[in-house]
Symmetry: C2
Subunit: 242 residues, 2 copies
DNA sequence: AGAAAAAACGAGCGAGCGTTCGTTTTTCTT
DNA sequence: AAGAAAAACGAACGCTCGCTCGTTTTTTCT
């Protein structure tokens, strides 16, 4: 699946998901009409990401946010109780969305090598579609309160575990050779993160998310795929190098 | 060279270097005795990194810093004019030190493959020895003022360029195969950065900097080394896999 | 259209920030 | 040991922050 197709499928998905997520925080929001909440929370979240990714969440003032979101100070506080709650809402919404999409795509695949491809590709596509949030989440994790920080770290390790599991399963069925899979999974995660942490760099060099995905997959396969499977894969249409 | 040996050589180095760097900012420091300046700036820098890496530089108050460094508010302001200047001093000192050490080690090597090994290894060792600063520098870059931010980005691209150059030279002399070296250099950088950005993770798993270096080198070589050189290297004592 | 409900508004509050400077303590000099 | 120079001190200042609440504007309902 290419990136354009992927983006279409998730933007349909996003609408249903948003309403679902709202129910949890509904009690803390003073606004009655559902439509208004969705519309304005969207503006608020976008503005938060835009400002925070420039100067940091802590340095963003509520006056900055008011200006960028096009809502008065008073209006803002109809949607959340305090600055920290705004962050909590934003984090929990995006995190559960990301998890859901990622799992669905991986579970759809049956072959081990395909699972690895898909995990890498979908993670990259997700981080491309929601780059501001992925960047934000990475950069702000250490500045947030204890319980929230724990959730962010757990989420990070969870993704890594997915890769480790795939590599372990692949070794059992002789698709991958023996390696330190925990370490390889860490390194895959690091390479995935570079895409959304340094987007400015890749944008300037005109490297598309598809190209990056291909390259990343080729590195991992060169390192992990067993010799027999390397050959199979080559005859199936190259491994995307160069 | 193992990490312990490396650390010894740079701590000797650091003392001379510190005095050298002082001269630049000497005019803004109200304290006369050189020894006092060196001692207290060290305390101030350490405290800054400790607090900032917990809650962010912007969130660190001068009262926090005063407490952690063991100096009064008034005393602090004898060493820098304002909070932002403190950051500038810290950044310029550590950045030029890092650059110097890295270059010296790489230039000492003559073989292309050795240059690649050394570049990876020394960068990892440096980031291990100065982990708080490397972490700080990465996390705070986006929050600092224009000119300082530009220097940080330039420094990031500079290191990447070193790797790209080595890979290009290596392809010419048939040590490395043809790849997109710019992209490979990016990815090497990403893997190096993961070491100091997620040290808590690697510490918990008891992975030493030497192990990580070995693993990283093996990934890069599996991907880049030409078939003939892969064989040569294996007979010379393995490539550190598993 | 007019009344009631909902949403948006923004000046103002107290707390806490970066920074200053008159004073006290420590160190050096003779 | 005493006076001078250097360094450290910390209460106080002006300003900006997160957040509130009485008021105004917009939307909904009959």
């Amino acid at each position: 699946m290419n990136y354009t197709a992927f983006k279409k499928t998730i933007s349909n998905y996003a609408k249903d998901f948003c309403n679902e997520d709202l129910l949890e925080n509904r009690k803390n929001i003073r606004i009655k009409k559902e439509g208004t909440v969705v519309k304005n929370l969207d503006k608020i979240f976008d503005a938060t990401l835009k400002i925070s990714n420039k100067k940091g969440f802590q340095a963003m003032t509520m006056r900055d946010l008011s200006g960028e979101a096009g809502l008065s100070m008073g209006a803002l506080y109809s949607y959340f109780a305090c600055k920290e709650d705004l962050l909590k809402m934003l984090q929990s919404q995006r995190r559960s969305f990301t998890k859901k999409i990622l799992e669905e795509h991986i579970n759809r695949e049956t072959g081990i090598a395909d699972k690895l491809h898909t995990a890498i590709r979908v993670h990259l596509y997700l981080s491309e579609a929601m780059q501001p949030w992925f960047y934000f989440s990475y950069m702000e994790t250490k500045n947030i309160s204890g319980p929230e920080q724990a959730k962010a770290i757990e989420s990070e390790l969870y993704t890594e575990k997915i890769f480790e599991q795939i590599l372990n399963d692949g070794e059992k069925s002789k698709v991958f050779i023996h390696r330190n899979h925990k370490l390889t999974a860490s390194i895959i995660k690091a390479m995935l993160q570079d895409w959304y942490l340094k987007r400015w760099k890749y944008a300037k060099r005109n490297i598309s998310v598809e190209q990056y995905a291909k390259y990343l997959i080729s590195i991992v396969e060169t390192f992990c795929l067993s010799p027999e499977h390397k050959k199979m894969y080559k005859t199936r249409g190259g491994n995307g190098l160069h």
